[in-house]
Symmetry: C2
Subunit: 410 residues, 2 copies
Amino acid sequence: MCYVRKVIYKEKQCIFILITHFPFFFIFIDFFHSFSFSLVLFRDRYINMTQDKCLVDIHTHVYLPEYLELLRKREQVPRVLPPLEEGQDERLIILPDEDKGESTKNGRPVGPAYYDVREKLAFMDKHNIDISVISLANPWIDFLPPTEETFDLARRLNVSMENMCQDPITHGRLYGLGTLPLSSVEGSVAEVERIAALPRMKGVIMGTWGCGKGLDDPALEPLYEAIAKHNLVIFLHPHYGVNLPTSGNMDAGHSLALALGFPFETTYAIARLILSGIFDRVPDLKMLLAHSGGTLPFLAGRIDSCVAHDPAVASKLNHPPSYYLKKLYFDAVIYHATGVKATADFVDPSQMMFGTDHPFFPPLESKDARWMSVDSNLTAIAGAGLDEEIVKGILGRNALKIFNLEMPSK
Amino acid sequence: MCYVRKVIYKEKQCIFILITHFPFFFIFIDFFHSFSFSLVLFRDRYINMTQDKCLVDIHTHVYLPEYLELLRKREQVPRVLPPLEEGQDERLIILPDEDKGESTKNGRPVGPAYYDVREKLAFMDKHNIDISVISLANPWIDFLPPTEETFDLARRLNVSMENMCQDPITHGRLYGLGTLPLSSVEGSVAEVERIAALPRMKGVIMGTWGCGKGLDDPALEPLYEAIAKHNLVIFLHPHYGVNLPTSGNMDAGHSLALALGFPFETTYAIARLILSGIFDRVPDLKMLLAHSGGTLPFLAGRIDSCVAHDPAVASKLNHPPSYYLKKLYFDAVIYHATGVKATADFVDPSQMMFGTDHPFFPPLESKDARWMSVDSNLTAIAGAGLDEEIVKGILGRNALKIFNLEMPSK
Ligand SMILES: [Zn+2]
Ligand SMILES: [Zn+2]
């Protein structure tokens, strides 16, 4: 009995099981324990929630044509491979060592949802999303050397994204986050100046590598200062994972690298950044953490406690680590109500913003269906027991303020 | 300005600052953002809480004399080194690579709190703890080869712990968790049979290595079955961390290995265990997760979502991963209210139990003080907005039921 089938077919089957399988009613009971069932329970609530309110997606990616072109030319990860069979999609291989795993080596299909603005708009329409703040998907251009060619590519990518956001067919529904040539701090600072001059660009997306030595690298401080000076937001997004030894006992595919490696990476990178004291020196730095901060809202107490018991580390900071963490922004891409509640308990919920992680985690079956990945995040927000006004904030109003966005005229 | 000093001296200084430093009142405001201040706010509440109720500590360690003897003889980590100067304590080096870090290579002082039952009782008295369920501290005897000598040591350790719990000076306030010679499944199954026959032993403590290949190793199934058959609890505790690359930018000492490496290790090990399907095959296995499950209550939604989108992985399970997670037990050693709330939201709070992690995280200053590490966990429980009856459960009643303990006559 595989629960995925149940999830996919839940809408058709719920009533069917009740009518025809009464003796097997216990099968239905299983739904109570799966997040899929909560989608049914909260269905009306989150659809109402998105119909009459402003919905802004601040975690949504594109693979710009210039970037796909680069990935097609490469012979190592990250790269784009040709279709396995004629008529199929190209295939994207981006995660470290993904090319070596039996179940991951063929990559994931990269169709128009990854690059076509019409697909982005169609996805937004399907889910009642008013505005998307789009960003290049990982691993950006972190892997390119600090050359003029790289700087030029960054420039072209950002202009291309600005143009996508200005495309008349978008009716003002798109804003963008820029990409930096991070292997050079100087090149990145120069690019920040250009991004700040592009009217629809509201920040930058960054991985956790910095220019190769992590976010706590003192060499990055001029970059942080430039970003803060222009009131841009850093969207901090994982890509590299942490080194989780494979068990040899089973092949878990991408699942645990994505489910755990990503949030662990974010958590560790930000903990290091905070211990470096950067937020004492550049207190105005606005940073948005992907996936509700990895695990930081949950682990903040333990981090405070471990640091407090290590005076050599604590003495470098003006405040406990959680003080700085509470000033950051968190998306609400955490897929269950417990995570939304914990984040909203840890930070002021005015610092939380809805996101989808589109075009990742597409529906497994019908292309026309609403996306389970989106609905589980909406359900989580609806089911977190938060006040109506707080919910409205997380769904869109907070993003309007934090990114300084204008609502498009519907 | 170092906030640790503030934490340590908070009680003396709070009023002092208010009276003498009124122009610097903003310094006091900082306390609002630190967990230390909440200790002051909730002080009366948690002291009342522990005075008239049953308080059971299920996460508390000892280094039995036989174990210290072994560690003294060793020439590599884990080991005990002689005092740096005469009259000082011996020094314990247990974490991987701890001997290589500049600020960690001298280890931590290992005084009587680590082995003397009188010190355990004094610690319990100071914090109004009625019962402690003691366990050998990490890394147990995982590093020993599968020989008769190792099996014999396990046997002696468990008898020694049983004797400590039966010592008349404890007045029935101690129960124990046994240690297994995990490099051999057969040896461990035999030891489980012996542990089950020791009246004050209520379970076993285990790391995440299993017999060297992780908890999802199919070879371990006979061991899980034996433990479940005797209705013993596995206390799953981290030791090895995950490989977090050092930044080279700063020396964070033990702090991040403990704050993050430990909970990441627990999270990854249990996620793998669940994906192995063991809880479909041995559904009665009782497992208690250290440090509130690492990060599992927060990441469960993301794990469910990533697994649901990877049918090859999901199809091996009868339910989503969170279904199995919700059947496990969680300590409340998470040091802030957000973590307690999240755990109590994720699982039925009747599956949560108070713990201290004694003798780790001792007070930095006065030996006579209450321990900040204990008070931050009590404060977290008091401040989590839970019903009185739920709090009573977490503080002690749940442990009485789950471990089948008897309240000592006071
Ligand atoms: Zn993303
Ligand atoms: Zn412990």
